[in-house]
């Protein structure tokens, strides 16, 4: 089935079986292997990408459902030599050990900062209105879909809070 995906600003026309997940289309058909497969079940967040501005799990959606949609993957944020601020902050704060969950963490954190800038409260926010200070607790709640088996959470949280301008180091 023919589908056109807009990925990191470029259009790709693919002919895929309708069963192909967006994750498999990225990795196997387009060789964009930065996006990782952990569980293939929506539970780990390793496959997080940004779809029309919102973070989603690419393992739980079919490529053919996204004709014309705008997709951003980790490759679209920056690559070695020209990392974006969130990627650099992960490096600086050791926000990983094995690195497998890292692309998903960074995509999810990127989507999350946009949600915060639009004033979306979370379950742990004290108020439903106004600015949300990104406390450690806020970051933990908002990043709850991204698991790290290496438990690099302290570095992940520092990298995100620094990028958000909550802490200067």
């Amino acid at each position: 089935m023919q589908t056109t995906l807009k990925i990191n600003g470029e259009s790709w026309t693919l002919d895929v079986d309708p069963r192909t997940s967006l994750l498999d289309a990225l990795r196997h058909h387009l060789d964009l292997t930065g996006t990782k497969k952990g569980c293939d079940h929506g539970q780990c967040g390793a496959c997080t990408i940004i779809l029309n501005g919102r973070r989603i799990n690419s393992c739980l959606t079919l490529a053919v459902m996204h004709d014309g949609d705008e997709i951003t993957t980790i490759e679209g944020l920056g690559e070695p030599g020209r990392l974006n601020p969130m990627q650099e902050a992960f490096v600086r704060h050791d926000g990983y050990q094995c690195g497998y969950c890292t692309p998903g963490q960074i995509m999810s954190a990127t989507g999350m900062l946009d949600e915060v800038s639009q004033g979306w409260p979370s379950h742990v926010s004290a108020s439903l209105e106004g600015d949300v200070p990104l406390s450690r607790e806020e970051v933990a709640e908002r990043m709850s879909g991204n698991l790290c088996r290496c438990s690099a959470y302290p570095g992940i949280v520092r990298a995100i809070r620094e990028t958000a301008g909550e802490v200067s180091e």
Binding site: R19, H41, L60, W120
Partner: protein, 263 residues
């Protein structure tokens, strides 16, 4: 996965026509159905994807009823229902995690009727009405046991109508690995009475706890729940908790829900 065709209708009318074929099944956000297909636990000949249908995505107040389109994501409800029905918005904002909430829909959640899902408790506790292309179904008639609902084959949820109560609260005791409810309770106080809907606990899915409703209608305080007990028989017992433990939690979580509703 078994092979299937996929249709991507742009309107409810087109979707209903596509679903008239007996082999076809609706695909909402896919947060439950895609893993199910991957495990080969479903074999639809055709999937009819509802996610491209703009007219199924809305949250709006009409009179004192909150109307939510059947294809509205949990994230949209969490944001847009907050001003009208905070307890329901808070329920939506605690389903799974943010990525799941950006795709999963109210129609998919209700149609699935997972015994540990959140929306069934919200709908039953609010005395909501489920609207399909063909008819309106009261929540009391909609949920018919484990993964069973009153929906016919191919019938889709186009809207859910929630009367807004005077006070309400969804109290969820989460199972931390899946983030589903181990036991959760939706309590709502209306001018005409109190409703208490329990999810995560019973082997027959979401249910109303009549005894607590009667006691709370007479006196809406956490204390009146203290003396009530729920039978362990018929409760879910699994590696996360025994039937006795869940029965005990129903009382505890109901009490906390009432405290929350009063706060």
């Amino acid at each position: 996965m078994y092979a299937f065709d996929i249709k991507r209708p742009r309107s409810v009318e087109e979707a209903v026509a596509a679903l008239a074929d007996g082999e076809a099944q609706a695909l909402g956000g896919g947060q439950t159905l895609i893993p199910t297909l991957r495990q080969r636990l479903a074999d639809p000949g055709t999937l009819v994807s509802l996610s491209g249908i703009a007219e199924l995505k809305y949250v709006r107040m009409e009179g004192d009823v909150l109307r939510i389109g059947g294809g509205t994501t949990h994230a949209q409800v969490a944001r847009e229902a907050a001003a009208h029905y905070p307890a329901l918005a808070s329920l939506a904002g605690r389903i799974g995690d943010p990525a799941v909430r950006n795709r999963g829909t109210i129609g998919g959640s209700l149609a699935n009727n997972d015994p540990s899902a959140c929306y069934p408790a919200g709908a039953l506790g609010s005395n909501a009405t489920v609207v399909t292309g063909a008819r309106e179904i009261a929540a009391d008639d909609f949920f018919q046991g484990l993964f069973e609902t009153a929906l016919d084959e191919g019938e889709i949820v186009t809207e859910v109508r929630f009367p807004v109560p005077e006070a309400a609260r969804y109290e969820k005791f989460i199972q931390p690995a899946s983030r589903f409810a181990l036991v959760a309770v939706f309590v709502a106080r209306f001018a005409g009475g109190v409703r208490v809907a329990v999810t995560g606990a019973s082997e027959s899915g979401v249910f109303r706890w009549a005894e607590a409703e009667a006691a709370l209608a007479a006196d809406f305080t956490p204390e009146v729940v203290r003396g009530l007990t729920v039978q362990a028989e018929g409760m879910i017992g699994d590696l996360h908790g025994s039937a006795e433990y869940r029965a005990h939690l129903v009382g505890v979580i109901t009490r906390r829900a009432v405290e929350g509703a009063l706060a």
